[in-house]
Amino acid sequence: MFAFVLRRIGQSLFVMLVVAIIAFSMFRFVGDPVHNMVGQQTSMEDREKLREALGLNDPFYVQFYKFIKNAVKGDFGVSYRHGRPASEIIAERLPATLELSLVAVLFALCVGIPMGVYTGIKKDSILSKFFLTTSLIGVSMPVFLIGILMIWIFAVELHWLPPFGRGDVVELGKYWSTGFLTISGLKALILPAITLGLFQMTLIMRLVRSEMLEVLRTDYIKFARARGLKNSAIYFGHALKNTLLPVITITGLQIGTIIAFAIITETVFNWPGMGQLFIQAINNVDIPIMAAYLMLVSLIFVIINLIVDALYFWVDPRLKTGNVVARST
């Protein structure tokens, strides 16, 4: 297992390097950063000086080396727009996005898995058919439309929940601001989190359902029935655990997608997170922020995939065999 983890870490590093090349290429080839930084009155000499100061005249590999060296330290340069380090700005926005994504993932799992189990067991019941039909809506409607509909129904018409923003936040230490500790913060989380997690919820539900149907046909379920086990033990002890491998895989991939898709939800709900920052950065061609965001999101992706691979071992004992046998002989 150790060799396996080492190999995976190596692969992850390679992925990060490729992403770094892409992020770096943006620096060099997308627009002219100097043009965006200075006013119309700046003379050509001043522009040239700035170019030199930013290191934009160095050869490709020197610049790339510097970029990597700084990126490892978390330094992506100064935002063209805000005049502050890009990583600092991102760090300010990170908690909002991570909290939103976390709640969205929890929603997707805590609602999606039970619904999937239910529709898998009672596949002919009316409620199952209702779940499956409505889940089609969740799969097929675009996120921004769901968000706008939610705002219209629950905020504008019913006045139950706030239509935008994060509510009151509490500062935890220097780097983290949380919306979990105030009522208004929690209320503000509900609509965007459901909007963001709805697609994943329906996806997980359908996945768990089809896996359940598959597993319930297997011999060991038949034998578990023949042993006279209670239905709850059969469904939750024996069947559900066997459906978890694909669910873990998909959930892992989808957490990344959720963080990435937060861009749209954050825009609709005016949520002060990274996604919104990224959209502004695109409008302003603020490349350091874009590069930092890109690197951070890919880092999150890579870390989640590492965790997912480790979870396989925890769920499925068969994967450990090679190692166990090697140790016992």
């Binding site: 034998f223 023949a226 042993r227 006279g228 024996h238």
Partner: protein
Amino acid sequence: MTEALLKVENLSIAFKSRHGELTAVDNISFEMAPGEILGVVGESGAGKSLTGSALTGLLEKPGFIKSGQILFENRRIDNLPYEQMRRLRGLKIGAIFQDPLTSLNPLYTVGFHLVETIMTHLPMNQAKAKDHAIRLLTEVGIPAPEKRFEQYPHQFSGGMRQRVVIALAICANPKLIIADEPTTALDVSVQAQILRLLKTMSKEHGAAIMLITHDMGVIAETADRVSVMYAGRIAEIGPVASVIKNPQHPYTQGLMAAIPIIGHQAERLAQIDGAMPRLNAIPTGCSFNPRCPKVFERCYHDRPDLMTAQDSLAACWLHDKTR
């Protein structure tokens, strides 16, 4: 004969399909005495496994019991509600399936399977259940049971897994075990060991075993009585020795003639011409009539029930005494 443990009376099992009902098991009756090993042989689709599933209450949809009844310890069990039948399964009626490789959940240890089953049926706590489980593993001949208890199914060979399955089936001392082709997936040398084990378990625990197989050799070695099924009906039922040595039904005679004898040179194996009819095309009269070498007029019109034929019962008009 002592009081019967199991009485199956006029049992019919059918499937609902788009073309109406298909009767897969047609009006069969038999009894089993306590501790008896009854072999059930027949071709694929003869209704052996369906009969077994009906006894455990695990008929899968769209199959259902159309008529007849099953009496277990003089109590009707074919119409029990799910929960009561569940309590009976594993406690009074155990089951063993064909493929030991897939009968165990790959994600749980063998010990977990055993303890879970024991605690479902017997009033034992975790520690006592574990002791009982290890005793069972020893009993079914698994070496180093304490170590094996902690291991996962994939760390066991096929034969060892079938031993675990047997341990699971007997853990609450059931009175009846339905063994549905328990040795088909195993290689021949292991088959013999498993059969011997089954026989020992039957003796020591006083459990009756219904041994479903299509292997006459297995029956000859293990069973006390044998029931030969053909197209959803019992063709012949009787003591093993007389059915094998002196078969009364033309179908059984054909089956016995088809078993090759080692050292005996023959041009071709003897065979029964034709194939078993499909469920939707069972002929009127005796269902064996298109293939029967001794067929006569009556076989085309009337369906024979089981009637006395020497030591056995056979469903064949040849044995009709009123003829």
